[in-house]
Symmetry: C2
């Protein structure tokens, strides 16, 4: 079994082309990780997720600790075995979702007490318990337990929140049980403040993780502020470790993130949008429920080789969504994940070939074309 | 392109082993046809439906005429092309579902006027329009437009209803456009009354269809009354044409139907049950939501080769249903259709080998075992 490792193969400007080696397979970076919240990527069989080009997926500690329960998942052999996913798995720490509960949660120095959104039962997460749960889930990559600083936050608030997260990061690291081919990532906080991000990067590198995530972005600050924060944050980070931008994002976020030296991404957008009828294409997003698709026999995206595009028409996808048929969300989820993986593969190729800037320009030019004209 | 034809290969008692030849492929009988109501077998890709062993599927005229509309489906190339199903397709006439609308429909000698359950808009079906719609849907097998006689019905009511259906059958036949490899079936009515069934069989054979269905059963009369009706009805029917028992049924209904000389079946039970957590197994039905499956790593049915049974555990299926995850209904629908097709294949083999009676006895013995003991 290989050690957990990151190899930086080549760079093109700030963009990086690498590979993460894990106990359960290699991950070519930059990479997009589909979200399998409750140990299933909604509407997809695991082999279909793999067929889109995905090499690693994400699952959510918060949802799984509530249902079916962390100890139960542990007895069932972990998330990977339970759901039949044969690649590496990253789990979040539960922190982000618990923070989203608002008045249902109470934070103190030691951790967070919260009520389940399912049945109102009381639960507690600490750095130690979050790390233990992720062990029970058999996460290949465990995330440190942190507070996702809300946006907007004053510098003082952001500093206080970040420093708590750094103390929790140290406790998370102490609770982590090293296993060959497994790793743990620390999470850089500090909102949009350069000095705080610098302090956070230094604190985490002092602890020493297998990788580093950038947290507290994609929480309402907008793409420009996110990019500006990345512009000063990634250059502070060690080049020899993977960098993971959490919860991001739209296709243009991914391209901009890679341009700024990010290696890993995750987001519910392709799967969630797929369930509501939004398809991502090379010419921008398309709402398949729009009446103009009703008799359009062309594929959603002519350049896409996914089942939705290669075997079905816009007219059929439109019908499935209008009739609220499960196959509609199955197909559009598949397409969106396939599109995201195609985009990542194209970026990896562009970096290898030293033409990332040209790729980025072409991406924006094509996306701004808008959808094909109605028949 | 072959003619539409039925070849009776062999018999074993009343059970029949045959093959229906159509423009879009052959159908080995006895056969079970999965229901794809709105031009999709709910939760299944067409190639997955095929992978269960299905050779022909059914779609519903009533649903498709309302959404996306018969003329629209016609412009899109028919149901088979629209949904990507490369085998033969049977459509019902719309009659059964319109009758189910109760006060929303009004019947006269010429046809039925009814209100859409979707938007209350008014529509009309006659034998001519039903036949035209099925042509627009590009049904490989078109069904005659009939009134499904309610149960219970007095002999006088059943006679009146049946005779109306026979007049409509004649008009349906006149409206049918013969195409090579396509066929039209008449529907025997007459409730549970032997003389009426005999009269109906004779009336339909006088018209001369490519096949004959038995309608008005599985409408609340119970398995015993259904079997008794089949016991006197199928022997009256021509042996050289396929016999289709509409809307049936449970696994034991299929076995009893085949034992009584039925060649074709359709039912929403395997797909609908799959969506609500009921799995059919060799030892009888299982409710996967039951708490006793929560940590059971065994497959739903050890003898089943479907994806749900070969790659996932009862514990995982249980979790998916408790968490209301789409993959749960996808897997259990797939399993149930696979189980139904395995059952039909086993019956075809048993008839070929002249051991259908032994098969039937073993089927009932195994089904009555009940589910495997909890771990």
């Amino acid at each position: 079994m290989p050690d957990f490792a990151f190899k930086l193969k080549t760079t093109d400007g700030a963009a990086r082309r690498g590979v993460v080696s894990t106990a359960w397979g290699e991950v070519e970076t930059p990479v997009f990780m589909p979200v399998g919240t409750a140990a299933t990527v909604k509407g997809m069989m695991p082999e279909s997720v793999r067929a889109t080009g995905a090499s690693i997926i994400l699952a959510n500690t918060y949802h799984l600790m509530l249902r079916p329960g962390a100890e139960r998942v542990g007895r069932l052999g972990g998330v990977r075995r339970l759901m039949g996913w044969d690649g590496p798995l990253l789990t979040d720490s539960g922190g982000f979702q618990v923070m989203s509960l608002g008045p249902l949660r109470k934070l103190d120095e030691d951790g967070v007490t919260f009520k389940s959104h399912l049945d109102g039962s009381q639960h507690r997460l600490t750095p130690e318990r979050s790390t233990e749960i992720q062990h029970l889930l058999d996460a290949t990559i465990t995330m440190a337990f942190d507070e996702c600083t809300p946006f907007p936050a004053t510098e003082a608030m952001a500093a206080e929140s970040m420093r708590l997260s750094m103390r929790w990061a140290k406790r998370s690291r102490a609770a982590f049980v090293p296993r060959k081919g497994y790793g743990q990532f620390g999470i850089v906080q500090g909102s949009v403040y350069r000095d705080l991000r610098a302090e956070s990067v230094a604190a985490l590198e002092d602890i020493d993780f297998e990788g580093y995530a950038i947290g507290g972005l994609a929480v309402g600050e907008g793409q420009q502020a996110m990019f500006e924060t990345l512009d000063f944050t990634t250059p502070m980070m060690r080049p020899d470790k993977p960098r993971y931008l959490m919860g991001v994002g739209k296709p243009s976020d991914l391209v901009g993130g890679v341009a700024r030296g990010v290696d890993m991404f995750d987001c519910v957008l392709p799967t969630r949008s797929g369930r509501t009828g939004q398809g991502f294409t090379r010419r921008g997003p398309v709402n398949i429920k729009n009446a103009r698709h009703a008799e359009d026999m062309r594929p959603l995206d002519e350049a896409c080789a996914c089942p939705a595009c290669s075997r079905f028409s816009r007219a059929y996808l439109h019908h499935l969504f209008k009739a609220d048929e499960v196959q509609g969300l199955m197909l559009l989820t598949w397409h969106n994940l396939h599109y995201y993986q195609d985009l990542m593969a194209a970026m990896r190729a562009a970096i290898e070939q030293g033409r990332f800037a040209a790729f980025e320009a072409e991406f924006h030019a094509t996306q701004s074309l808008g959808d094909i004209e109605p028949v």
